[in-house]
Symmetry: C2
Subunit: 245 residues, 2 copies
DNA sequence: CGCTAGTTTGAAAAAACTCAATTGGCGTGG
DNA sequence: CCACGCCAATTGAGTTTTTTCAAACTAGCG
């Protein structure tokens, strides 16, 4: 595990992206109690039905949210990149209605709900910033529905790549080549396609010169065209602070 | 439009379901500024890209959230039933990343963001109750992904019916026959299927004795079996107050 | 009574899946 | 350092699911 920033600094950088917090508020954030923990690839962090009392701040690596069908099929509901808090919703819905797992080795900052709640009670602006994060998470899920439901295989795969690119770019991790150790099986379960379809679609996109995928790294050669193919509009990620009130 | 409760009382009933607010807090809720407005069937309430300054409390009728593809296909992202606030997320994300429309004549209570925000600033418990509502909305969207992505047509349709049943039941609207004026075209765009498929699937479910659909009303004859077919687990709706902390 | 929106049904076409086999890359143990 | 083994990627081919297109039917409404 390479060296990495203090978890709280990553959180602060994330919230600063939109919330415009003041120094005193940042200082309060720094009082949050954080435990760092490393998890292995494919390790489950929490499961459907669990009651949890901590939030996980992702410091390094990739996590996924997922649900299963009775037949054992997986559906990945979102990817998480460093800076995200994939289970922030447990603050108010402590019973997990899906599972959380690492698809790469990952480093997490465990923050007790209690610690966050006390901070939220002291400071509404921090609370609102966190609320806003959960709303963006919801917006991503909604767009995922449209993607899986109404886009072609080709557009779906492109869309997922665009979203990952945009979100990694927002935390400074989209410098070519983009490290993206996600297997084609993961892509398949994310976009509700078969591995075969994912493989063929990636090949097509590669042959058209839009992307290169090699050794768990991706290079986007033509982002504009990729976004066009994906019918991708980054609005739903609410990354642009100008979109705020 | 038949007579209906005061919008705020509907909101209070909804929040009481889980938040356990005190009388003084309910009194504060009653100070919210609410404008009642009726909208016609198929009327758009807000569109992708709009910046809005009010939240819409649904008093009567059904609303949908939807997004479009370039090819003009629709994807319905959720249904809303009386008591819901479909655009509560605009409180912190005022730019709509999807559209909101009525699929039946509907009555809405328009509440200015400002009014809600002031209340939230005065009272954290109310703020948390509203935050929680937005989190449930997100949970519904996530489960929708699994439904659309990994369930068969049969299970998808059953799942949608189960969800509607559970949510209508939670507000006392699930007494047989259940009034559900949703066209098959709407169902199709919700579950990412064609109208043909919806029609056939409904026929199958009817012939198996699970449901009856007639004249915009539905009767569920065998909820347990319908839920089994749907792989439906109501956990994600977080309706059970015992699930709270 | 005719119109329209919505439902129902049939049949061909398209998209995506499953199954199966092969290839490639990489870490580990001999 | 090489061989083995395993996981992931790739490719081919037949099958299944779902869609699309088209047409007929039905019920409510002016």
């Amino acid at each position: 595990m390479p060296k990495s920033l203090d978890p709280i600094e990553i959180l602060i950088r994330r919230l600063q992206r939109s919330a415009g917090l003041e120094q005193s508020e940042l200082a309060e954030l720094r009082t949050l109690q954080v435990d760092v923990a490393d998890v292995a690839r494919n390790e489950a962090i929490s499961r459907e039905g669990d009651r949890v009392e901590h939030c996980m701040l992702l410091v390094e690596g990739f996590l996924i949210r997922l649900q299963h069908t009775r037949g054992g099929k997986r559906q990945i509901l979102s990817f998480y990149v460093p800076g995200d808090i994939p289970d922030l919703q447990t603050l108010h819905l402590p019973t997990m209605d899906h599972s959380l797992a690492a698809i790469t080795p990952a480093r997490l900052g465990r923050i007790p709900h209690k610690s966050i709640q006390e901070l939220c009670n002291r400071n509404r602006r921090v609370a609102d910033a966190l609320w806003r994060e959960t709303l963006i998470d919801a917006a991503v899920a909604r767009t995922w529905v449209r993607c899986v439901g109404r886009l072609t295989a080709r557009a779906r795969v492109a869309h997922m790549l665009c979203e990952l690119h945009a979100r990694l770019d927002a935390v400074g991790l989209a410098k070519d080549p983009i490290r993206m150790p996600i297997t084609q099986a993961d892509f398949a379960d994310a976009m509700s396609l078969s591995v075969v379809q994912i493989n063929m679609t990636l090949r097509d996109l590669r042959e058209e010169g839009l992307i290169t995928v090699h050794k768990r790294e991706m290079i986007v050669h033509d982002l504009v065209r990729l976004q066009y193919v994906a019918e991708f509009d980054p609005l739903y990620l609410h990354l642009d602070p100008a979109q705020r009130r």
